[in-house]
Amino acid sequence: MIEFASTFIVSAIQILLMLLATPLVCGIIRKTKARLQNRRGATIFQPYLDLSKLMRKEVIIPSTSSWIFRITPYVVLASMLLIALLVPTIFAPVPFHWMGDIITIIYLFAAARFFLALGGLDAGSAFGGLGSSREMSIASIVEPAMMLAVFTTAVTAGSTDLSIIVNRLSTTQASIIHPSHVLAFAGLFIVTIAETGRLPVDNPGTHLELTMIHEAMILEYSGRYLAFLELASQMKLLIFLSLLANMFAPVGMAIDTAPLSLIVGVAAFILKVAILAIVVALVETANAKLRLFRVPELLMVAFVLSLLALILYSIIGS
């Protein structure tokens, strides 16, 4: 019973933290980019205000759309919330680790993407179709690269269970700087950029419908549906950043619910994610958007990096 209660508390804290931190990460990236462009930029809390504004706005549903259009925002957001429970954030033993491992996460991402693409098509506008087709063709290369990167760490830890991966890494100090991890980290970072629709793959700040990928799929959404989708895509970014931070550097994670370790855990998490967010902003600023047909080449780099990591691990061993 106590076991259950503590799991409940831990997962409640985790989901609340993820929900609250999500718009902040987005705000940090936007602010960093603005400063780098000599602009003052909006406050880092602007995404909260945007979301609350969207929640209050009227929802307009295209007359040509079906139920798919309406359930998509819920499916996508629910998938992200579920994943948020499965990734390591502040607690080393991930609250719901018995429920699903890395493979579950990958499939949940796929499910969300599937519905998002359907939702884009369902509205019947030309841009939605354009975005969906681009998203799916990029996904077909992103997913293998992502699996390979994630499996490299799974192989080093001997399990696909994220709790075990994180625990192994935090207890065996040497493996933090294992060369294969560096390569896998680089691979997963590129995947993060592609998966979350950042430059140089997709431009989240563009107004040009013809160049959009993710934004084109959600072009017909408005009001709270749009808020859900925005929140989901922002959360996806946070999930990836958490994976990057904690799979490769699980420093400072809480192993119990004692107040001190909780505080340290939260602080370490926020610090790591903020650093990664700034790195993402730097990458976005330093690069122009790639020509669409060059994106597969970039993702091949991620794939090869992960593959090399795996080979390196099997040669050097732990």
Binding site: K33, N38, L130, L199, H207, A286, K289, R291, L292
Partner: protein
């Protein structure tokens, strides 16, 4: 020199031309006999092919109250002799038909279609509507004299007739006329096979303001303000082109100082627009750090415009006979000019370095949106887009006025015809503009800046032209018996170049369209007037 061309034409076709007397030194008006109408396509073809004439524009004029006929003016530029040869072709008021010259001169296509839509003069073979939308009734022609501006026209049912591409996997993407961002209205219809664009159709004339019609009967001095509003980004160029036309009809001698001020402002307009365009291209490829630098720099020059003239768009400066105000009459203005030019030049070179050192940017720009030289030549593409495709034409050099005859500068030329070439032409032109402004730096505030004007002589017509930042702007004005405007024809370079854009995007992928479009940066307002 005029006699040379008259002789040349008469030896080939006999005495079918009558020379119209004009006081304008470099304009030769030749009226074709009504009986020789069928020879028109052949004459135009020979002019272009054998005599290396450049087709500038054609325009119709409702001269029924003067001569009982319509006339169409075919304007050619003879670059070698700094001469404009204008064929004046009579059109019967009842039949309203004229042979089309597009078989040998593709660049005249849109002009002929516009004449058909606005005057009801049908070039045969006949092609579809261009300048009026399908809901405009068939038999209403807005530019004929009896069309009353106050009249409301009842719209009819009609739908756009786009070119459809059939085939497996070919889809149509409609974009516009309302776009995201602050962009003028225009409807684009892409036919795509996957990502590659198979065909692009453009429906324009949403921004038609009837400028040419409104101006009829207007005092030329008032029309200067209208000219400033033809295309906002070329306010001063259009105003100067219009003033130039009026000045030529009246043989007005412009004070030297006014010519210098005009030249300086025209180059400032070029600099701020070119830098803005470079920023736009960088923004469209997502290289925001360089883009924001470019916009910052553009803003600096817009601000300088405001300090010098009181208007960021250089409005209210042009006047018939000169300019309205001095631009360097106070120390503050001179300092602002000097500082902005010095800092601007440095910042611009830094921006160019940043652009050239980014491999991802170069990868996006090179070989994107290629407009081949032969296509550019066939379509009569001019200005920056033309010079990026190896069309060596620059009115500042070929038909110079203002202070250009005394100034040293190069006309920039590239041959690749891609987005990168169009950016490069802009970069080098900005450098040339800086050089030009250096040469103009001297202050004589006591000199006159405006000629003293007589009451206008009636019944005169002339061209006014200038190489604006986008390309050559050509106006043609006819002053009526009352000294007011009888007919004003405006040709913005966009009107030539839209067809080039349509061709340049073919076989490119859809997400590259915005950057190709930006590299042309055509004006909707100037095109639609």
């Amino acid at each position: 020199m005029k006699q040379k061309y008259i002789q040349l034409l008469r030896t080939t076709w006999g005495n079918i031309f009558t020379e119209e007397i004009t006081p304008v030194a470099n304009e030769l008006y030749l009226t074709l006999e009504s009986g020789a109408l069928s020879k028109l396509p052949e004459i135009c073809s020979v002019l272009v092919k054998a005599l290396k004439a450049h087709f500038v524009m054609l325009l119709a004029n409702d001269e029924r109250e003067l001569h009982g006929k319509f006339f169409i003016y075919y304007v050619f530029s003879m670059t070698a002799d700094n001469l404009f040869l204008i064929l004046r072709v009579p059109v019967d008021a009842r039949e309203r038909e004229v042979p089309s010259i597009t078989a040998s001169l593709d660049s005249a296509t849109w002009f002929e279609r516009e004449v058909q839509d606005w005057f009801g003069i049908v070039p045969f073979p006949n092609i579809g509507k261009l300048a009026v939308h399908p809901d405009w009734p068939e038999d209403v022609y807005p530019m004929v004299k009896e069309f009353d501006l106050k009249r409301s026209v009842r719209r009819v049912k009609g739908s756009f007739d786009f070119k459809h591409v059939a085939g497996e996997g070919v889809f149509e993407i409609p974009v516009g006329p309302v776009h995201a961002g602050v962009i003028e209205p225009g409807h684009f219809r892409f036919s795509v096979a996957g990502e590659p664009i198979v065909n692009l159709d453009v429906q324009l004339f949403y921004a038609h303001k009837g400028t040419e019609k409104i101006a009829e009967g207007m005092n030329p001095h008032r029309a200067v303000f209208l000219a400033e509003r033809i295309s906002g980004d070329s306010s001063f160029s259009h105003a100067v082109a219009f003033c130039h036309a009026i000045e030529r009809t009246q043989q007005i001698e412009i004070p030297q100082r006014a010519l210098v001020i005009r030249t300086a402002l025209l180059e400032l307009e070029r600099i701020s627009n070119h830098i803005g365009d470079i920023g736009g291209v960088l923004l469209d490829v997502g290289f925001s750090i360089a883009a924001s630098r470019a916009f910052y720099l553009k803003e600096k020059f817009m601000h300088l415009n405001e300090i010098l003239t009181g208007s960021r768009l250089l409005r209210g400066m042009a006047a018939i006979g000169g300019v309205r105000r001095h631009i360097e009459d106070t120390l503050a203005k001179r300092e602002a000019m000097q500082e902005t030019l010095k800092d601007g030049q440095e910042a611009f070179e830094e921006l160019v370095d940043l652009l050239m050192s980014s491999s991802t940017v170069l990868d996006r720009l090179e070989s994107t949106g290629v407009l081949a030289h032969k296509d550019a030549y066939r379509l009569g593409i001019i200005g920056i887009a033309g010079r990026a495709s190896g069309i060596d034409r620059d009115l500042r050099r070929d038909h110079p006025h203002c202070a250009y005859p005394y100034l040293k500068f190069h006309s920039v030329l590239c041959n690749e015809g891609d987005v990168f070439a169009r950016v490069n032409v802009r970069i080098d032109e900005v450098r040339e503009s800086f050089r030009l402004l250096e040469q103009l730096r001297r202050q004589h505030v006591d000199e006159p800046i405006k000629a003293t004007l007589q009451s206008p002589a009636p019944d005169r017509c002339a061209l006014g032209y200038f190489e604006g930042w986008r390309g050559e702007i050509v106006h043609w004005v006819m002053i009526g018996k009352d000294g007011n405007i009888f007919r004003w024809k405006i040709t913005d370079p966009s009107f030539h170049n839209w067809r080039g854009l349509k061709l340049a995007v073919r076989h490119n992928i859809v997400p590259d369209f915005p950057v190709i479009n930006k590299s042309f940066n055509l004006s909707y307002s100037g095109n639609d007037r």
